[in-house]
């Protein structure tokens, strides 16, 4: 029902030669984590980490992933937002 655009995810991993990828999903898409992870690992050599925590919006990106050497985050269900400055 929702287009996960897995081809786009795979292409981006290949293009950036990412080795360790973190995927982040809003609650409604969390059950799709297996499908997404399986697709990425079958079509690329990247290792996948699934973000367990919240994904309320593009304001809510995982932090601290540098410590594990994550080189790409793919966040589903949201788009770029403009952080308000006032």
């Amino acid at each position: 029902m929702y287009d996960l655009e897995l081809d786009k995810a795979v292409q981006e991993i290949k293009r950036t030669k990412a080795k360790l990828v973190c995927i982040q999903l809003p609650d409604g898409l969390k059950p799709k984590a297996k499908e997404i992870s399986d697709e990425i690992t079958s079509k690329t050599s990247a290792k996948v980490l699934i973000w367990l925590g919240s994904c309320y919006g593009s304001c809510d990106l995982p932090i601290g992933l540098e410590r594990l050497g994550v080189d790409l985050v793919i966040s589903w269900g949201h788009n770029q937002f403009r952080k308000e400055e006032w």
């Binding site: 919240s54 309320y56 919006g57």
Partner: protein, 238 residues
Amino acid sequence: MVRTIFIEGKYSEKVLLSNDMLNYLKGKKYHTLGLFASVQFCQQFDSVKQQLEKLSIKAATSTAKRCAVEGQLLGCDCSSDALNLNKDVDAFLYIVDGNFHPLALAYGQNWNNVFKEIICYNPKSNQFTVLSKKDVETNLKRYKGALTKFHSTGNIGVIISLKPGQEFYKKSLELEKKYTDKKFYYFVDNEVSFGQLENFNFIDVWVNTACPRIALDDSEMFRKGVVNLKEVLRAEVF
């Protein structure tokens, strides 16, 4: 910050307004609706507009303050100036599969005398719900009470989020310049740990600098009350 890409997860089926939805709109005799959606449905606005035109209803939309896509409205666009809608509408139609985002439209009408109903249409279930002032009244009353408390008390707890999109630490320091008679204590967290608030019993009231919806939807989690940074920085000081 690690390189990040976003995949919207666009709705892959056609958004068709159900007969129940169309009959409801017909009965209301609306002339113009403010049309908004979560990003998954925005690409189908032309089709939704055509369905509304058959009922002689016009649709007006805008690009809200924090959004990159026309017609999209985020949950945090919940202040009265967030919509950027320059057309008068009779009510709002929000295409969505939940209530979090459209509630922003209810909170945004916070200070208005006339409340325009928000019709939430779920294309997955073909069901619709209507949000009214009652859905936000309790939270808004609690919020207004906390605002009064902020202005009359002295020990203020400022909550700083580590989430990059919600982090306003530097901005929060302006509080000290504006409210020189108050003492500000700064608390940092990734998620707001509601269970920890009570341990800091010297705090009279909290200022939330993270997602503004926390101070509204979760206001009951703050026994001492909570207000948003933007509100108190903009407030007139007497």
